[in-house]
Symmetry: C2
Subunit: 483 residues, 2 copies
């Protein structure tokens, strides 16, 4: 685990510092494609770090696709296959709340995700090979053999104490001091969001959400009959707080739902000052913030971003997360720290489903206790960062001019704005004919906006098949744009 | 599995027929306490069945506490410690719908259930030793070791095909021809009920429920803000259909929820003709029936009762059940056959929690496939039947005159009506001081009726400690009634 030092700043592995610095030099153009990096030995002397640290850092830069090793020669800045296109534009604010309906679109994307013959750019899943599947299953097997009645008994809310202790321990990384008793375990982050929404808003009432946002959230909101005001999400800053403040003045907003860290689909991270401002402006109005931090551990930079909850002094922030994207989607182990709504959430969880299954919680708690989780996360982050770079570069190379590409700071999805007038629904349909799934933009909006955007899942290691699929997508976009 | 023969009647183990017949003779007084039963050899000749069958039947009668073996002498009808008191009275119909609120009472009973030092007459759990805990955990362990990605991947709704096949296969026992595609797996029967309620009724709308009924249902209804009309449940016939018809004329009822087989808390079973009438009268009005069959496999008679769904021709019956009471509460494996509401239920399950955990479903499916489940159920039923008899007899012996006791036909709960004026809430409080948990009657009613009733859990094998606890309860009831 990355611990915070006494002054509150996080301790970071040395090699990660080196990666960040070299990546910044490359990004800024100080090191350009074809430039040779300092030799391992030289950098080790310069920086006063061990040779092993530099080797590890250079491997990390390779993983990210930023440098390449040439035998007998050293490390060189990789030539980008094409300069990245500009970033997508920020959406314009809308002024009305509306009913939400994304159901049929979501079904189409998820049906595709269940078919292994289809190129998986649609639903957002990490590739199985990136997760410690066998390790976790083995832990579960050992526990099941010795658990006896404890393994089959109800584990009523707030949920397994050992798991809540581990979640509390890890919350420090996000800048949060949470006690195990402040946490309720859930069936994934989806159930966590569902419980929060039910506790703070009723059918016909209005909440504020980001736009674009995660369609799982839109589905939940739709199923509950809640109305949503869409607040633009800025590619590099998350929810537009000026627009939010305006909306708060115009609507009777019962709650705000946001994904401050690596929003889905933009991959944006909200700066700490904005998180503080968000928590403050809602706190003054006594409005709860439902914070989805599912991707928070998947930062590409060396420091894990803080959660908005870390600025919460009034118990109004309901922090939701899960282990579905980092360990095992099918274990359905998530959690919520509901602040002052803890008792209501705990009781509703009990009323809705009595309890979450016991053994999967025990297995995840055990894996977290054993301590290999941070090591796994570091490797996972490197792989995901590299995959996002690869997909971005392939889009840059194969998509026609006028395409824009987001710069996610974490997670594993890539938001792509297609040239003006290209319908992502048409692209979705034509791509499916070629065996390629993408998530069309209107999925990510209650108003079905973003008609010329798509989200690409970057959860899979790069292969020729993926490269070929991006090429095909680029050709289809070209045809649809008439270019 | 008990299969139905070609004419639709179920095939029954011969020894179970013998048990039923002898039990009927005892019940009718044809065989009285102290009477000697025919010798094993004689009955075997008389009935043309094997000696082993009769031995098995006599063991079963012993299990039920109806006969006792005397060494070197034979089997004798057991002296009841006291004649059973009369059955509880039927509740009077009420004419108004009301908001539901049982929350704090439920919390108190469940808190007690988590404390192993408390005598467990409160929450309705079968004793761990009656369930195939180690076998199921072992199956899960074997599966987890070899499952790989299949064990950690999402298993999106409608849920694991292997489990749905097993549920469909077993539905034949309840007289139902269900295909695997008509079933959606859930996190226990509670989530099944929750999904059904959300699909058919909204906040402020009215449904009809039994009275008394399972407080888990009341909690769900309360959490959804649905109003409930309470229809009296008759001790030997389930929901009073005349009262229901009247209520249908007076209220705009969006759905009816019933537990036709071994209702909780009464243990009543609705006769087949009534089930058919219920399904018919709702069908003509196009009103869905949510049928909770959680205890359906726990029949004390030799034949499993039909489900109301078996009379459904219009897809209006939503059949809910689980393996929580027969295998493993903490695995949270349940299911629903939602009839014409299948797609809506499937979609809502996806929106609410994406999926149920995969591995517990795989383990339950495997155990059902291996075929030991019916054998386990037979043993479980015999034990539960015996335990219900023991608790009933102890109440008869130790509770003061004016007490009434239900005659459950299955399941493992016993509904006791205390003498007029005795408050079961007071009894609950005083019993807790003595380390005994009971479920007070007002828990089982949206209007907090049944103030002089308690439900006793009979899920635990009889011990001196339980006997002593019933004695203590009887004394407390005596004090409260001033007798």
């Amino acid at each position: 685990m990355t611990m915070r030092a006494a002054d509150g700043s996080p301790e970071v592995h040395l090699y990660e510092q080196v990666i960040t610095e070299m990546a910044a030099l490359i990004d800024a153009g100080a090191l350009r494609p074809g430039d040779r990096l300092p030799s391992v030995r030289r950098l080790s002397r310069q920086r006063g770090v061990s040779v092993a640290t530099v080797v590890q850092a250079y491997l990390g830069l390779e993983d990210r696709g930023l440098v390449e090793a040439r035998p007998q020669s050293g490390h060189y800045v990789r030539a980008r296959r094409a300069p990245l296109p500009p970033e997508p534009r920020s959406p314009r604010p809308t002024t009305t709340a509306c009913k939400v309906s994304v159901r049929s679109l979501v079904t189409r994307v998820y049906t595709a995700a269940r078919d292994p013959s289809i190129v998986p750019f649609g639903a957002a899943y990490p590739s199985p090979e990136l997760l410690p599947t066998d390790k976790l299953n083995r832990i579960l097997a050992v526990i099941a053999r010795s658990a006896g009645w404890a393994g089959v008994a109800y584990d009523p809310p707030p949920g397994l104490p050992a798991l809540r202790r581990q979640v509390a321990r890890r919350a420090v990384d996000g800048g949060c001091a949470l006690g195990p008793d402040e946490i309720v375990t859930t069936s994934g982050a989806t159930e966590a969001l569902h419980l929060c929404l039910r506790v703070v808003a009723r059918r016909g009432e209005t909440i504020a959400i980001e736009s674009p946002t995660y369609f799982g959230l839109l589905q939940l909101v739709e199923s509950l009959g809640i109305r949503a005001v869409e607040i633009p999400s800025l590619p590099r800053a998350g929810m537009d707080l000026d627009a939010l403040e305006e909306a708060l003045g115009r609507h009777r907003i019962k709650a705000v739902v946001a994904i401050p860290n690596f929003s889905n689909p933009l991959g944006a991270v909200m700066p700490d000052e904005s998180k503080e401002r968000l928590v403050g402006l809602l706190g003054r109005r006594d409005i709860p913030l439902i914070e989805d931090d599912t991707h928070g551990d998947l930062h590409f930079d060396d420091v894990r971003p803080r959660v908005a909850k870390s600025f919460d002094r009034r118990g109004l922030v309901m922090l939701c997360s899960s282990f579905s994207k980092t360990l095992a989607p099918g274990y359905r182990v998530g959690w919520v720290a509901p602040g002052r709504f803890r008792d209501a959430v705990e009781h509703l969880k009990f009323a809705q489903s009595v309890a979450s299954p016991t053994l999967p919680q025990m297995a995840v708690a055990q894996l977290l206790e054993e301590g290999g989780y941070d090591h796994h996360l570091r490797a996972l982050r490197r792989r995901l960062a590299a995959q996002v770079v690869r997909v971005s570069e392939a889009v840059a190379e194969h998509f026609p001019a006028g395409t824009r590409v987001a710069r996610p700071a974490g997670g594993f999805v890539l938001w792509v704005e297609l040239p003006f007038g290209v319908s992502s629904l048409d692209l979705h349909a034509r791509a499916m004919e070629k065996g390629i799934s993408v998530a069309p933009g209107p999925l990510f909006s209650a108003k079905h906006r973003f008609s010329n955007c798509v989200r690409l899942n970057c959860g899979y290691p790069w292969t020729d098949q993926l490269d070929q699929a991006v090429r095909t997508l680029g050709r289809l976009v070209g045809e649809l744009s008439g270019s």
